[in-house]
């Protein structure tokens, strides 16, 4: 195995890759959840306002 392969598949590199992938997905989930639940709560609030003023 050459040096390049050792670098590419080193445990440290694997950790960095796993962390970067996790960071991207976690950010997407947190932002999506925030927007989704904000819109749902807003819609319920608007409905309640229509019903009860």
């Amino acid at each position: 195995m050459n040096d390049s392969d050792d670098t590419h598949h080193s445990p440290d590199q694997k950790v960095k890759d796993d962390q970067a992938a996790a960071l991207i997905v976690a950010q997407v989930f947190i932002v999506f959840s925030g927007i989704y639940w904000f819109l749902q709560i807003e819609s319920v609030r608007a409905l309640l306002e229509l019903a009860y003023g």
Binding site: Q19, A21, L23, I24, I30, S33, Y36
Partner: protein, 194 residues
Amino acid sequence: MSTAIFSNYSKTLITAAILLAALMFGYSDLLSTVYVGLEPVFMWSETTWFGYIGKNYGGIFAVIQAVHLLSMAVLGGAVIAGDGRVLGIVLRDVPVRTVVDRAHRIFVWALIVVVATGIFMACGVASKIYFLPVYWFKMLSLGAGTLFHFFIRRPLLRHDINQLNPIVVKMVAIASILVWFMVAATGRWIGFSG
């Protein structure tokens, strides 16, 4: 250079590409084509044995639903225990590795039961849930949560947790709790709809 980046960050790049593809799918005409194409499958599922039993034997449906809800509670407990420990909120006197590994085992069994009982229940009310947007949000979050658990969270937490960036670890735990909360909440929502 670009080959090195791809080689070093192959998982990150594939993950980003999948997220981008999912986003493009969500805003493309392909989504409505797939949605319309799935209607016959849902209508057919009501004619299967599962659909027949689900529609005509309320007692059996209720028992399966109870098992579904109990396994959902177990799954939620496993998520709260595992991610709560990662966040340092619960079970602080037990090593992270122990809690995460044991919670994972319980999570897998609970997920199998949730999916199996969920398929049975969906067959019984297929013509109703097909038209419920919240059902599709549940399927989206269930699929995303399952992929996230097995391909992102689990491989990440296999590493020595002290070696990982604490902010990333905490964000993963919060994202995990949020996605499974969404599965549970949208599931309950289906029960209240129609």
